[in-house]
């Protein structure tokens, strides 16, 4: 067994010290009738070399953003990860440590969380951030619960169809056993109409959940939505794209009360959708209702500035069933990666990244729409992804053709939106080159385009 120390001699000595004859005696507390008296029915052990071969065989059956050109989005994106992020993320002092309950043994982790919270606050324009949650969708669901508790309104939650369908599904699951009604507003134009929203709002609505840019990539009129929510006394929850804040208005600037995001784009690989980083930031007055861990600055007994986990009376290990949430972990390693990523990019780097996404996605949309077969489904401004309608109604065939040519070309929308069965979502990050975009257009236009040379 590769990770055990105990030799046969150790085991004998230890059993003698314990006063037991055999290791099996130590399990005497488990009644015989409950014991599994056969080996587990699992494959035999693999050596490291055999494992390596096995994993290579498995990965050979996958296409991925490293051997295909990835234009997939919808909440998970192929952004660039600088080497420094991997270097720091691989420090085992970080990744083999645990929750910093013993502050003296965890000042590194605690300062990272404090810096992370500060960066998220600056990025979003919100007062405070927690130490992170599981992912964007569950952060949105937690924000809804938090808004209900803060506003003491448990009647309704309002969200548009332009909010990520899996975020909506997650919120619905979290609310299923509670008596709160979910109002979903249609978004035929690709964005939420503030007047339609206002018509749905009353004094029972706890919160409006907006996504900016939304699931279709479109820019919502966040100011008007925020105003409508404020007028009705409802809180505004905004699900934002962290990369977009290199160029777009910050959630705090238009009156968001709770900002949430999927933060994997800040230096964490796609990894088939997880583990990811749930970002949550909020108004100062809501902080004691926030779920999850929070680090704070203080001083030690000698007066040395330092950091601790704080406001823990919100949390399950103290408050049990009265806690603000059952959340017990944060995504510490990815909060670290996000902190390193944002430190590495700095203000200019993040602006340029956002600008490249904007310009390249705009170029890709223009080029695609030069083909008669394609048009934009919505006439709204977009940031880094957009919805294309296929006049020939063959999204599946189109994407399969592209896949064979080495392109992960888009996300078909019919699975969530029957009215958009002839549409797919295309995302263009800073990593995509003009030649890749041009090749994608040729492939989707039915020309036999070969992949641009992979470096």
């Amino acid at each position: 067994m590769p990770y055990l120390y105990n030799t046969a001699e150790d085991q004998r000595d230890m059993l003698e010290a314990i006063g037991a004859e055999t290791i099996d005696d130590l399990f005497a507390g488990i009644p015989d009738e409950l014991r599994l008296n056969r080996p587990l029915d699992l494959p035999e052990a693999l050596s490291e070399m055999e494992m390596d071969r096995h994993l290579r065989e498995l990965t050979a059956k996958n296409s991925h953003a490293g051997n295909s050109v990835c234009f997939l989005g919808g909440g998970c994106y192929d952004h660039f990860i600088p080497a420094v992020v991997d270097t720091i993320g691989s420090r085992s002092e970080f990744y083999t440590s645990y929750t910093p309950y013993q502050a003296e043994a965890s000042q590194g982790n605690l300062q990272v969380v404090f810096e992370y919270q500060s960066l998220i606050s600056r990025l979003t324009g919100m007062d405070v951030s927690n130490a992170s949650l599981y992912d964007g969708a569950s952060a949105a669901a937690e924000a809804v619960l938090m808004a209900m508790s803060a506003s003491r309104r448990h009647g309704k939650i309002v969200m548009p169809e332009s909010l990520h369908p899996e975020y909506r599904a997650t919120i619905a699951t979290y609310l299923e056993n509670l008596d709160t009604e979910i109002i979903t507003i249609e978004t035929p134009t690709g964005v939420l109409d503030a007047q339609r929203l206002a018509a749905e709002l009353d004094e029972t609505v706890a919160a409006v959940v907006l996504q900016q840019p939304n699931f279709f990539g479109c820019i919502e009129d966040a100011q008007s939505v925020a105003q409508a929510a404020r007028d009705a006394g409802a809180l505004l929850i905004t699900a934002f794209d962290p990369i977009s804040l290199g160029i777009l208005t910050r959630p705090g600037d238009y009156g968001t009360n709770i900002a949430v995001a999927e933060g994997h784009t800040l230096g964490t690989p796609m990894s088939y959708g997880g583990p990811f980083l749930g970002i949550m930031a909020c108004d100062k007055k809501l902080v004691r209702r926030m779920p999850g861990r929070i680090a704070g600055a203080t001083v030690d007994r000698r007066g040395t500035p330092c950091y601790v986990l704080t406001l823990q009376t919100r949390e399950q290990h103290i408050r049990r069933e009265k806690a603000t949430s059952n959340v017990c972990t944060n995504q510490g390693l990815f909060a670290l990666r996000a902190t390193v990523y944002l430190s590495q990019l700095g203000p200019q780097g993040l602006c340029e990244t956002a600008s490249l996404c904007l310009q390249k996605s705009h170029y890709a949309a223009e080029q695609l729409c030069e083909q008669e077969r394609f048009s934009r489904a919505f006439g709204q401004p977009t940031f880094k992804e957009f919805v294309i309608r296929d006049a020939e109604h063959d999204v599946e065939g189109l994407l399969k053709t592209a896949e064979r040519a080495g392109f992960l070309a888009g996300v078909p929308l019919g699975q969530w939106y029957p009215d958009l069965a002839d549409c797919f979502l295309v995302a263009v990050t800073e990593k995509r080159t003009r030649s890749e975009i041009d090749a994608l257009v040729r492939v989707l236009a039915g020309e036999s385009a070969s992949l641009p040379a992979q470096v």
Partner: protein, 516 residues
């Protein structure tokens, strides 16, 4: 050597004009931003991020890392957390581009290797738990608890509508359970009812009988318990709860003690044992813990609950070989002609499913590390893990009990809870004092003041990946500390960069972001 210059915050280190990242020039025709975006959507200026050089970024974070204790650098006997060795081959596997660079919305055709691994993981977790259905979706143990309780709620809604029963509103939780249990129950819309435990640390059967009725949906139990003991009445508890129509939820935090030895699904022979459980792969299957996450919280359930699991799950089908594949088979392996090939796909068509508890599939990066760990061990190896985890814990208990009493007895499973209450009474030395002083000697502290049922609790879990020598030295250190001057201990640790942070100040005057 400690470097206090480069561990100033990134905001203090920032200097206007510095930058680390350079982006490529834009290779498409540039448009004016004002033509692409409405004016009110465009930020007035760049975000106020720090400006640093790349060497500075590295020096800052590398120095911060040295202020942590970690499994790779120190003995970390933090009870309930299973701080075992984190194998490096797992890390390498998770970083392979064929896993790390997969997008969750790729077509199934392009994901066969990934889906095969996840399917095998479902099957593996089912076999280890003795429960026939699995969802890999939950992102952490507590998230698994929530998902499973929502599954139970959906199941009971159906039962109620079929039988005209009253809805079930309560979840029973023993008083020594993790705080997540009652918190998850509340979040899922249930009333959490506490069951007393006996002085020996087991479920008080009289209290259970008094509180068990037809309003009870679920009894959540941690077994082995947070005291490191196997519940002797497990079968009886399961039978009584089932007789009342309720379900048993196993908090799987302590699976490291029982791999291949006993299975929660088998805990009432001939009948149903546990009906649901979560795993903590970041504990049992070697993590890592990542400074607080990510974890994962896959759940396994009995057949009748399977339709309610979060969607999607991975299913395996046998399909006729495609024309291309057949041609290959004709050329190279004629014996496979006309054979059926496995094809893995995501099953979303689950009308009774509770839906999603998160976006995308699950914490795949954590699950695949667990997969590598399990395949590295095989059935015998997994059993050896539990045997040695229990051996180590009992050995350390035998060394510690002379120094700090272990109220719940002579034997334990994978961990035990010692008490410093006598020491507190006689010498004014608390569990916290000992925990802090251990840091001076180069040991991470055990979990202290949990479970709440033991006064001055110190919960110690050595795990199987520690040596007798380490445990001997730890026990000797513990003894030495109890002989030290109380005042010295009150001010411990003495060797760390900081000592005894003012937590009251942190909570009363919260400074949560730089510059506040």
């Amino acid at each position: 050597m400690r470097n206090t210059h480069d561990t100033k915050t990134i905001f203090e280190l920032s200097k206007s004009g510095r930058r680390a990242a350079r982006l490529p020039a834009c290779d498409v025709p540039m448009c004016d931003v004002a033509d692409l975006l409405p004016a009110q959507a465009v930020s007035a200026g760049p975000p106020a991020l720090p400006e640093l050089s790349e060497p500075q970024v590295i020096r800052h974070f590398v120095n911060l890392s040295t202020l942590n204790m970690s499994v790779d650098t120190h003995f970390y006997p933090l009870g309930s957390c299973t701080m075992k060795y984190n194998p490096k081959r797992n890390e390498r596997a998770a970083a392979m581009p064929g896993f790390a660079d997969l997008h969750p919305y790729q077509s199934e055709d392009t994901l066969q290797g990934m889906l095969e691994l996840l399917y095998e993981m479902q099957e593996t977790l089912q076999e280890i738990s003795g429960l026939p259905a699995c969802s890999l979706q939950p992102a952490a143990g507590a998230h698994g608890e929530l998902a499973a309780l929502l599954v139970a709620a959906a199941y009971f809604r159906d039962v109620a509508s079929e039988n005209g029963d009253e809805p079930r509103t309560k979840v029973l939780v023993p008083d020594n359970a993790h705080g997540t249990n009652p918190a998850s129950a509340a979040m899922a819309g249930f009333e959490s009812v506490t069951i007393q435990t006996t002085a020996a640390g087991f479920v008080d059967m009289d209290d259970l009988a008094a509180k068990l009725d037809k309003q009870v949906a679920v009894l959540m139990i941690t077994n082995p318990s947070t005291l490191g003991l196997f519940e002797p009445h497990m079968r009886e508890i399961a039978d009584q709860v089932h007789a009342m129509g309720g379900l048993i939820y196993l908090d799987g935090a302590n699976m490291n003690a029982i791999l291949g030895i006993t299975r929660p699904g088998d805990w009432s022979p001939g009948k149903e044992g546990a009906d649901m459980q979560h795993y903590n792969p970041h504990k049992t299957f070697s993590g890592p813990h990542g400074g607080g996450g990510p974890g994962a919280g896959p759940i396994c359930v009995v057949e009748k609950l399977a339709p309610y699991l979060p969607a999607p799950v991975v299913v395996k089908e046998l399909r006729g070989a495609s024309c291309e594949a057949r041609e290959d088979a004709d050329n190279s392996r004629p014996e496979t002609q006309n054979s059926q090939l496995p094809y893995y796909r995501l099953d979303f068509d689950r009308p009774k499913s509770i839906g999603r508890v998160r976006a995308f599939f699950g914490n795949v990066g954590v699950l695949l590390r667990a997969y590598v760990y399990i395949r590295t061990h095989g059935p015998d190896g997994l059993k050896r893990i539990s045997e040695n985890a229990v051996l180590n814990a009992n050995y350390l208990l035998s060394r510690v009990k002379h120094i700090l009493p272990v109220p719940q007895g002579e034997r334990c499973m994978h961990e035990f809870v010692a008490s410093a209450s006598a020491l507190r009474r006689d010498k004014d030395i608390s569990a916290m004092d000992i925990a802090k002083r251990l840091l001076d000697y180069g040991y991470h502290a055990p979990t202290v003041y949990f479970p709440l049922t033991v006064a001055e609790a110190m919960m110690i879990e050595p795990t199987e990946s520690e040596s007798k020598e380490t445990m001997d030295a730890f026990a000797e250190t513990l003894f030495r500390i109890t002989e030290e001057d109380a005042q010295l201990l009150h001010e411990a640790p003495h060797s760390t960069a900081v000592s005894r942070p003012d937590e009251v100040r942190a909570a009363r005057q919260p400074v949560l972001v730089y510059g506040d």
